[in-house]
């Protein structure tokens, strides 16, 4: 039972990029927490599977205030990072899932999944990827919009001056958090806010950012710039209803850390 796809185990990022090509008929297996059951049950039927385990993409490096995280880095490796990234990583799945699932898998997961999108959008992360047309770096926001056909290599961001995270939901091992808002203030003082759970992928809350000095108004503005939908964990109504509170919480935590 299961997949008999050709398995490719690249030994470097460039080998991975070349094996990936334009991404047609290829599936990428990093941790495997999403792909392995899909292969087993025939929900995914790729011709080739690239295993990233030995591709040199498991790293967290720091250079002059810039943090780079390889796509095959397990989520557990981020648990000690500063807010919002660390606490967000700590809230994903359980011990075993965090040790196996990877940053790249989380950022490239199907709609709904992808808790890490929130903090990394708030941190203004840049995504470096390979695929048709070669390697490119772009804001994570742009990458998320066009991630099909791309092989994520790493994400990097400048360490912020302050960060905050507020999420809904009991402690759980669900696929994703019902909704969470991440916030970060850069060293230049700019505040970025991002939400996951209010759309198919994480998104910046630009209208709320513009009102960062007025948390109540920012919360109301945030609810106006998303259109959350229903899923088994919560309704769109509930997400829209509670988003202002999460935005207020994040802004007030950012303020308190000033």
């Amino acid at each position: 039972m299961g997949s008999t796809a050709e398995v490719i185990q690249p030994g470097s990022p460039s080998e991975a990029a070349s094996a990936f090509g334009d991404g047609a008929a290829v599936a990428v297996l990093a941790g495997g927490t999403l792909l392995v059951p899909d292969l087993h049950f025939g929900r995914a039927r790729p011709e080739r599977v690239i295993m990233l385990g030995d591709a040199g993409l498991n790293y967290v490096s720091r250079n002059n205030g810039t943090v780079s995280i390889g796509a095959a880095t397990p989520i557990a490796a981020l648990v000690g990072e500063a807010t919002p990234l660390g606490p967000c990583a700590a809230s994903i799945g359980d011990n075993e899932i965090r040790a196996q699932a990877t940053v790249g898998g989380n950022l490239c997961a199907p709609a709904g999944f992808g808790d890490l999108q929130g903090p990394l959008l708030a941190l203004g992360a840049t995504a470096r990827s390979a695929g048709a047309g070669g390697e490119r770096s772009e804001p994570l926001e742009d990458f998320l919009a066009g991630r099909a056909g791309r092989l994520l290599l790493d994400v990097s961001y400048a360490e912020p001056a302050a960060g905050a995270l507020a999420g809904l939901g009991r402690p759980h091992a669900h696929h994703y958090t019902v909704m969470a808002v991440s916030g970060a203030r850069s060293r230049s003082g700019a505040v970025r806010l991002a939400v996951v759970g209010a759309g198919a992928v994480g998104s910046r809350l630009r209208a709320a950012e513009a009102l960062a000095g007025d948390p109540d108004a920012a919360g109301v503005a945030a609810a106006g710039e998303v259109a959350p939908s229903d899923d088994p964990l919560a309704s769109g109504w509930y997400r829209a209803r509670t988003l202002p509170a999460l935005v207020r919480q994040v802004l007030s935590d950012l303020e308190a850390s000033a």
């Binding site: 809904l168 939901g169 009991r170 402690p171 759980h172 091992a173 669900h174 696929h175 229903d230 899923d231 088994p232 964990l233 919560a234 309704s235 109504w237 509930y238 209803r241 509670t242 509170a245 919480q249």
Partner: protein, 367 residues
């Protein structure tokens, strides 16, 4: 954001055995030539501990050590009938069947021992695997020796069967619900106190403590009683605040199809638990036991609903008490909604009623 604390109680009853009865269980037992005991029962062990409980009953009823008894419920070729493991009947009803079978075995052991010891069986007793003369405990014969005598002297393995069946209580008058007999094997009782924390901005309810009192009749195995009470507590917590197969009921859309999309209770939901076990022996159960497995998730939802009301002043009467339902109730109250009062009538939840939704039936006590 504020967290509000609330408390609530509930008390419940629950019948043991299949409703209206008519649900047989049977056991048979044989004694090997060295006195070791084989029990054959048809009761499935679904985790409730039927194997353990029924083995304990047999050991004490015959008078042999627990580890002399082997329990076999493995198949229908060798096991007698048991209507099944449901309706809290595995201890009370099926346990009674093994008790009766063990009593037959004990009687036969004493008969054979009486012949061997030349003492009337009425003057004998069994304890810890030995048959003893009452009042003269130095006169004794091990159950193993009695079993050997039965086999090699009388040509038999000592055996016994027992059956338990409360007769079916039919509905004799369907207009009133009158029955022509007692429709349960026994009734068990419990009460629960819940403590919750409610977040008034997200609507999230966290159950922080459950105190639960059960009249178990007799705890044949206290550890297994606790297992039922504790497991039931978390299942009741799930019913109360987490689980829903149809999150948009009555719609059938967006059903959770795996553990990642269904709110099953996890160890992270574990509240403080306090079990209170009351032993008020039942007249009919084995060793006075009652059945409490099923009822153990019945009291928590109402205690939790009441605690939520105590915390934030709204009644959520659709389960589970999701964050969304709490917020909608808080919003409705802020908008001035509440029960309709007219004369001596106090009418809650009018918008949920069949009168508000259906068109084919009306139901009312006026006005």
């Amino acid at each position: 954001m504020a967290i509000h604390i609330g408390r609530g109680i509930a008390s419940i009853e629950y019948p043991t055995g299949m409703n209206q009865n008519g649900d047989p269980s049977q056991a048979w037992i044989k004694v090997k030539p060295d006195g070791r005991i084989d029990v054959f029962s048809g009761t499935s062990d679904i985790g409730n501990g039927a194997k353990t409980i029924q083995t304990q009953i047999v050991a004490d009823t015959i008078g042999v050590p627990y580890d002399w008894v082997t329990f076999d419920n493995s198949n229908t070729d060798s096991s007698p009938v048991c209507t099944g493991t449901f309706a809290s009947r595995a201890t009370f009803v099926a346990g009674k069947a093994v008790l009766k079978a063990a009593q037959r075995v004990r009687e036969r052991i004493l008969e054979v021992a009486g012949l061997e010891m030349e003492i009337s069986p009425e003057d004998l007793e069994i304890a810890d695997g030995d048959v003893l003369a009452k009042g003269a405990p130095t006169k004794k014969l091990s159950v193993g020796d009695v079993a050997a005598a039965a086999t090699w002297g009388h040509g038999e393995l000592i055996t016994g069967t027992g059956a338990q069946l409360n007769p079916y209580a039919a509905i004799s008058d369907p207009t009133t619900g009158e029955v022509d007999g007692v429709p349960h094997a026994a009734i068990s009782y419990a009460a629960c106190a819940a403590e919750v924390e409610v977040n008034d901005e997200t609507g999230e309810v966290r159950v922080t403590k459950l105190t639960q009192a059960y009249d178990v009749g007799k705890a044949i195995n206290p550890a297994l009683v606790e297992g039922q009470i504790e497991g039931g507590a978390i299942m009741g917590l799930g019913l109360g605040v987490l689980e829903d197969s149809y999150p948009y009921y009555p719609s059938a859309e967006h059903r959770g199809d795996d553990f990642g999309s269904y709110y099953n209770p996890s160890s992270a939901d574990l509240p403080e638990l306090h079990n209170i076990i009351i032993e008020n022996p039942s007249a009919d159960g084995p060793y006075g036991a009652k059945g409490i497995g099923e009822m153990s998730n019945n009291a928590q939802p109402a205690a939790i609903a009441t605690a939520v009301h105590d915390a934030v002043g709204v009644w959520v009467t659709e389960l589970p008490i999701t964050p969304e339902r709490v917020l909608r109730a808080l919003d409705a109250r802020a908008a001035g909604s509440g029960p309709r009062r007219e004369g001596k009538h106090v009418i809650f939840d009018e918008e949920l009623s069949i009168n508000a939704v259906g068109s084919g039936k009306t139901w009312t006590a006026g006005p």
